[in-house]
């Protein structure tokens, strides 16, 4: 299996966006599967969970967030898949 040619996009950005984890910055903001307003920031248009490198969460809070989103999905507070439009993610 050949990997194919590497795209010549230039040097990859190493720094990325140094976003701070929202939940670490503001300790009072808890992660609750019932708190849809907070959860919506971390779910894409199509209902997919936003990756950590985009949302800027720390590992611990991303894990808790994932669990909360999955619980909310189970109890029909959030959709499993929505949008169904042609746009990605």
């Amino acid at each position: 299996m050949s990997n194919g040619t590497r795209p010549a996009g230039g040097p990859r950005r190493r720094y990325g966006r140094r976003k701070v984890c929202r939940f670490c910055a503001e300790k009072s903001l808890g992660i609750d599967y019932k708190d849809l307003r907070t959860l919506r920031y971390f779910v894409s248009e199509r209902g997919k969970i936003v990756p950590r490198r985009i949302s800027g969460n720390c590992a611990e809070h991303q894990r808790k967030l994932t669990e909360a989103i999955k619980r909310a999905r189970n109890i029909a507070l959030l959709p499993f898949a929505s949008g169904l439009s042609s746009e990605r993610g």
Binding site: D32, R71, A76, L78, P79, F80
Partner: protein
């Protein structure tokens, strides 16, 4: 004794008194098992994120209770049998609840107006 919370969805056709009666019935189911009911809130009718049992709306009821683990099994068994309950989920309760008022709901209602008066005085 752990604190659990169960969120269940009631069929949208069950309204008003029927809904109140249903919530009371499940509150009794819990207290009959020596569980302490800390909260039994009705969020009202909401649109579901996806159809459940072909319904697009449902009434959400949140109950927080404290008891032995065997309470959950019995509670969920009852929920499963009931046709009016279309979905339920029980999780370990995270967070804190104010001291249970148990049967003294008026106590909580008195506390609310007092808090409002205090806020009005400060404003």
């Amino acid at each position: 004794m752990r604190t659990y919370e169960t969120l269940f969805i009631v069929h949208p056709d069950v309204v008003g008194d029927d809904l109140a009666a249903l919530i009371e019935k499940y509150r009794k189911v819990l207290t009959d098992q020596q569980a302490l009911v800390l909260k039994a809130d009705n969020w009202g009718s909401r649109t579901l994120a996806y159809p459940v049992k072909k319904q697009t709306r449902g009434s959400y009821v949140l109950t927080v209770f404290e008891g032995a683990p065997s309470v959950i099994a019995e509670f969920e068994r009852r929920l499963r049998i009931d046709e009016k309950v279309i979905k339920y989920q029980t999780v370990l309760f995270e967070g804190s609840v104010a001291a249970p008022a148990a049967a003294e709901k008026p106590v909580q209602e008195e506390a609310a107006p007092v808090a409002e008066e205090a806020a009005a005085d400060e404003a």
